[in-house]
């Protein structure tokens, strides 16, 4: 029988190689243009690890992480409210989404920061303080970004919950779970698979949106960079430093996201797509190694 079993040679994609080469060439031109342009690259290198900027980066990451956390918590709470059969909680959730999704984040940040104009003092009976002391740029940024994010998260979480088969809720009820427990133990963990990719998106989006907090004098990365170039006039150089740091953080976030996705898709038949890099690794290097390519494992990540 082995005589008839001819080996199949995979289709060669010559077009891909040609277009790849063209794009690499164009990219090289672009890099060349910037390298020869009027940018003082040594200054970029000099400021890249500057403690002032690193502190700004730290603040950016801090406010982003905390805001996402606030957003997720609010998102889960309001999504469950939104899906509840109780018309009151349902309407409260809808109102929340309408209000915070319907106005620009920038405007919300300004409102939080200037809240002292409306409520000069906070008085809770046992504790009172002046609003200007309480509403620091950090707190205003956190509230503005976090609560706004919650409105978007609500819709993401709701979509995730809806995507889980209704039979799961039936099965959970049938073994005696209350609605809330079924949500927590059965529905939400499955919804996570659908929720994670857009949350990763939101995370990356928020990391960049957090730069708007520079408007309320929160000293995040971009704000720090601006403060420096106001003084030394190296505008493009410092913007390049900021861009570099944003890209680095986003890259790290993307890698983390891949692992989280993999965790939540356990028990599912289709695994997460391997990344472009790991596909290249498999295709180029391993195939070469398996000399003769008899058992070239297409996407051999299993």
């Amino acid at each position: 029988m082995t005589d008839d079993a001819e080996q199949v040679v995979p289709l060669r994609h010559y077009g891909r190689w040609i277009s790849g080469a063209i794009i690499l060439f164009l990219l090289w031109l672009l890099v060349l243009a910037f390298a020869r342009g009027q940018i003082d690259w040594p200054v970029v290198g000099e400021f890249f690890m500057a403690p002032v900027l690193l502190k700004g980066l730290g603040n950016t990451i801090l406010v982003t992480c905390l805001s996402i956390l606030i957003g997720l918590i609010l998102g889960v709470i309001f999504a469950i409210m939104r899906l509840s059969s109780n018309p009151v909680t349902n309407m409260v959730a809808s109102l929340y989404i309408w209000l915070f999704r319907g106005t620009p984040v920038y405007l919300q940040l300004l409102i939080w920061f200037n809240l002292a104009l409306v409520f000069p003092e906070i008085n809770l009976g046992f504790w009172h303080a002046r609003m200007v002391d309480v509403m620091t740029p950090f707190l205003a940024a956190l509230l503005g970004l976090g609560i706004n994010e919650g409105a978007y998260m609500t819709e993401i979480v709701r979509g995730g919950i809806i995507s889980v088969d209704r039979g799961q809720l039936d099965a959970a009820s049938a073994i005696g779970m209350t609605r809330l427990m079924a949500m927590r133990r059965i529905v939400l963990p499955q919804a996570m698979r659908v929720i994670i990719p857009p949350v990763g998106n939101e995370f990356i989006g928020l990391l960049k949106t957090s730069s708007m907090a520079s408007a309320i004098a929160y000293t995040e990365l971009l704000h720090r960079a601006q403060l420096i170039y106001f003084v030394n006039a190296k505008v493009m150089e410092l913007l390049m430093v900021a861009a570099g740091w944003y890209l680095i953080v986003v890259t790290i976030l993307t890698i983390i996201q891949t692992y989280i996705e993999r965790y939540f898709s356990r028990g599912q038949s289709h695994e997460t797509e391997p990344s472009l890099l790991s596909r290249l690794w498999v295709n180029l290097i391993r195939r070469r190694r398996a000399a003769g390519g008899a058992a070239a494992q297409q996407g051999g990540y299993r």
Binding site: Q168, D170, A174, G176
Partner: protein, 258 residues
């Protein structure tokens, strides 16, 4: 008649509508402890809806359902039934195990995880106890070596056997089966039916909605034939399946393979 034990399941004149469509139009039946009753009938006749009413996955509009002498889903007061809260309903559901047409195993948990979920988190049993019982049950349904697998890695027949074990893990007094073999490939039906047969022989009280006439004839003590939201005929398998004089029963049986 005084010899008759209290029924494990007693339904009295149960009515249920979805909007204007009346799905159940007065269902009454009794299943005694240790008895197996099969509900047959064409699709849309209300069999599955009734089964879901028994453990209150669907609410009822009128009528009473007692399981083990407890009124399900409500409290009788002044000639009316007042709906109970979620928590109270959950408590009475623990007495019943349910097996679904599409298995509804929890896909993010292993087989063992599925089996101990209820005992550990609902009944708050110690994990070791739950795991021990789960393993015994897996042996009983012939899946000892699958405890670390995820549901997706099992065949339909294996998944349904896990689902039966999951329901049994809560140590129910009554088992409800909602077309347990309808979603299975033909060659996998037998393994599920044989697990159900063993269960019946061990003395479990069972209410089974099914299209398997052979199972009803061989295992059931009682057969009810539903059509249009009512039970048109009920009795012993021999009476209903082989010697029925009822027009609707005969017409239904002539259309299904037995």
């Amino acid at each position: 008649m005084s010899e008759t034990p209290t029924p494990m399941l007693r339904a009295v004149n149960v009515h249920k509508s979805f909007g204007r469509h009346e799905v159940l139009r007065g269902i009454s039946l009794e299943v005694l402890p240790g008895e197996v009753m099969c509900l047959l009938g064409p699709s849309g006749s209300g069999k599955s809806t009734f089964l879901r009413c028994v453990n209150h996955l669907e609410t009822t509009d009128r009528g009473r359902i007692y399981v083990d002498d407890e009124l399900i889903g409500g409290r009788l007061h002044n000639g009316k039934i007042y709906e109970l809260k979620d928590k109270a309903i959950c408590k009475s559901r623990v007495k019943m195990g349910m097996v679904f047409q599409h298995f509804n195993l929890f896909p993010h948990m292993t087989v063992l995880g599925n089996l101990i979920e209820g005992p550990v988190h609902v009944k708050r049993e110690p994990k070791e106890v739950a795991v021990d019982r789960a393993r015994t049950l897996l042996a009983r349904v012939g899946l000892t070596d699958k405890e670390d697998n995820y549901p997706r890695q099992l065949s339909g027949g294996q998944q349904q056997r896990v689902a039966i074990a999951r329901a049994l893990a809560m140590e129910p007094k009554l088992m409800l089966f909602d077309e347990p073999t309808s979603a299975l490939d033909p060659e996998l039906v037998g393994e599920v039916l044989s697990v159900m047969k063993d269960l019946a022989q061990s003395g479990m009280t069972m209410l089974v909605v099914t299209h398997e006439i052979g199972f009803a004839r061989g295992v059931a003590h009682k057969v009810g034939l539903m059509d249009g939201g009512v039970i048109v005929e009920s009795g012993s398998p021999a009476d209903v399946l082989d010697n029925s004089s009822n027009e609707r029963t005969r017409s239904f049986l002539s259309k299904v393979p037995s």
